[in-house]
Amino acid sequence: MTTTRPPTFEMQLIGHRDYLLRFARLQLRNDAWAEDAVSETVLAALAKPQAFENRSQLKTWLVGILKHKVIDALRHHSREISGMGSTEDDDTDPLEHMQFKADGHFSQAPADWGNPEQQFSSQQFFEVLDACINKLPASQGRLFLMREWLELSSEEICKELGLTPTNVYVQLHRARLRLRECLELNWFAQPEAS
């Protein structure tokens, strides 16, 4: 009989801390808020271990709690967050970086990104993607991940942060184009990426 005891619930929770922090940091763009949200997640899990039954899904359960804590943080800091957007961001539309002729046609066709499905399990790809998300201006990055990680609708985002739809759409538009450009430069245009 082996005497190694299974890791305690606390140990398991702590084992997932880095995973949770990565999301919280990217979403909140503030290390102190991120650390708070993750700590609150761990404390909530410790306070209600009975709420969790199927241990193989521990990570999924924790991410679910974290998302609530992160939304609380976004709400709590919504003033700071929505006040930042206009000053920090430049007013250029990234569509202008793309090559269009005066008549509105592409002067150079968008690159063929091939069929990158296999790359979506590669660690390098996600490192590049994380870096590109992190390179977005903070306000754009937050809105983008509220859509893509928290999976909120644009209407819900407006409500949570007290922003107008136009503002949210413009920022999401810029975020998506910037991300496209960053992925193209740093991944899809790299010969070794195939």
Partner: protein, 76 residues
């Protein structure tokens, strides 16, 4: 008559906007029309769809599990 002409610049903006909001039906129709006529915008559309797909995988990606994830994708 409803004008359905869109330039590639306008179509690119619509393809991006579609990720975050429901487009009016006139824009949806104009988009479909443009896609049948244009050789370059479908490429841009595929890039946008690829990004959406990448984000779906990103949500569930865990660096500490990437080894086992890679194994699952060994050639069959």
């Amino acid at each position: 008559m409803i004008p359905l002409n869109r330039t590639c610049t306008q179509v690119s903006a619509l393809l991006i906007a579609r990720e975050d909001r429901q487009l009016p039906w006139t824009d949806r129709l104009a988009l479909r029309l443009h896609m049948t006529l244009c050789a370059t915008c479908p490429r841009f559309e595929r890039q946008i769809l690829t990004m959406g797909n990448a984000m779906k995988h990103w949500r569930n990606y865990d660096a500490s599990e990437s080894k086992s994830a890679d194994n699952r994708h060994e050639p069959k």
